[in-house]
Amino acid sequence: MAPVSQTKEMPAAVRALPALSVRKVRKLYNELEAIKNVSLEVAQNEFVSLLGPSGCGKSTLLTMIAGLLKQTEGEISINGTPVTGPRPEIGMVFQQPVLLPWRTILDNVLFPVELLKLPRDKYVPRAMELLAMAKIDDFAGSLPRQLSGGMRQRASICRALVHDPAILLMDEPFSALDALTRDEMGVELLRIWQANRKTVVFVTHSIREAAFLSDRVVVMGRRPATIVEEMTIDLPRPRQISLTEDENFNRYVRALRKAIEASHGH
């Protein structure tokens, strides 16, 4: 079965309101056009990757979805409500773990709960559950510096999920890790996601990572960023690392690479 690139609406989007809707968004930095006319819909519980070369504006788009940056034109809405600033229904994972060095892992995970003034006691069991799922519950009382880079990033994923946000935004979360840890983290992320179904927008410049993780990959071209290709990854879940040796998987990888190379052409 050959990968099909498609621009049609997702069936899920018909059933329910899209979790995320980006309509004709444009971003200018002074006179410089960073993002040009991007429209995108992400269905409830869909895992979508934004794939593109470094500095193509995909992180900028994610920052605007998080409400940290205002678009110049167009509209972004989450569950039908326009984004005007940071919102509690967003959980974010950054390139670096960004843990507070003076807090234990558990207290770091509970940080959003504290900031949102939610009852801490009620969220401790959930935080511990997430840590157990990420296999770092033994380190709940440890300080970040006592953990490896991969473990810290897992803790930051737990932090992004602790307040049960509707949308998880991930900004190249594994790019600072070594290749082996990176593959492992992908599998871990999918396992956590399987148990905590959320809408995920995952920014990456790794073609394999995008294909392995996503329901759908959105390929973005160089500045000014536009969407050059959308591809549904029709591979069975749950996915294991052995999938990367599968011929179907590699066909998607090749098709995505071709789409990126084509976008360099113009």
Partner: protein
């Protein structure tokens, strides 16, 4: 723990051996060359003076110690307060920073006689000089701590909707603590200098006064005993701050500094 103890012993053993060696050498040279005690008393005589005149030394130590600690405490409170103000007010920052920088260049000790003119020869002059000298490094260090927030951390906090108040208490304050402690370690030393200099210039009590008095009487053993007592007091104050620092800033262990933090 065992490794830690051994490393500690190794860290202590070297300097201790060298110090004891130097003291012994000092004793030997002074005795061998028959140097007069008025020029350079041997360590044994200084220790004798410390024991024999402990009442006199302690009588003069307390006021100096009291003023040092008080001046230091005021500089910590004042320095941190001003640091917070200039962190949050751009206008104050612009107004204060040049003054702070310029005041770094002025040898503040030279103001001591002026303080005597203004506040008399009593404790007020000593206290204010201690405060003034200790205040600036306290302010600069604290301000640096409040302002040097990691950009990623600030972004993370904004994503999770942190209020300014939360950012201050949950991020800026803990972030500033290591800086505040390094400021305190500088300031305590400077506060001692402030008090002693002020006592040199005009005072009827205090270790600074005693050192000057002993000098006038050519009682060099007493003078050096006073200097030794003062040094010990300074070391203890510094040690106390370092001790609290390890307690409060627990996330920055000494193993981080030596770069051998395993695990």
């Amino acid at each position: 723990m065992g490794t830690k103890g051994r490393r500690f012993a190794a860290d202590i053993a070297g300097p201790a051996a060298i110090s004891i060696g130097m003291i012994v050498l000092w004793e030997v040279i002074v005795r061998a060359l028959h140097i007069r005690s008025i020029i350079l008393p041997p360590p044994s005589e200084i220790i004798m003076a410390m024991v024999d005149r402990r009442d006199l030394l302690l009588t003069h130590l307390w006021p100096s110690l009291y003023l040092t600690v008080l001046g230091f405490a005021l500089s910590v409170v004042g320095g941190v307060a001003v640091a917070i103000l200039i962190t949050y007010s751009a206008a104050l920052r612009k107004g204060f920073y040049p003054i702070i920088i310029v005041s770094q260049v002025i040898p503040k000790i030279s103001i001591a006689p002026l303080f005597i003119v203004w506040f008399g020869t009593g404790t007020m002059s000593s206290l204010l000089l201690a405060f003034l000298i200790a205040f600036f490094p306290m302010t600069i260090n604290s301000a640096l701590g409040f302002q040097s927030i990691d950009e990623d951390i600030a972004r993370m906090a904004r994503t999770f909707m942190a209020s300014d108040w939360q950012v201050f208490w949950k991020i800026r304050m803990p972030n500033a603590l290591p800086y505040i402690f390094s400021g305190m370690k500088i300031s305590i030393t400077l506060a001692i200098i402030g008090v002693i200099v002020s006592e040199f210039v005009a005072s009827q009590e205090g270790i600074g006064y005693l050192i000057k008095l002993a000098g006038g009487l050519l009682d060099t053993p007493l003078m050096m005993a006073a200097i030794t007592v003062l040094s010990i007091a300074g070391l203890i104050l510094y040690g106390l701050i370092a001790h609290f620092e390890r307690r409060v800033v627990y996330w920055q262990s000494s193993s981080d500094i030596s770069g051998s933090g395993g695990g």
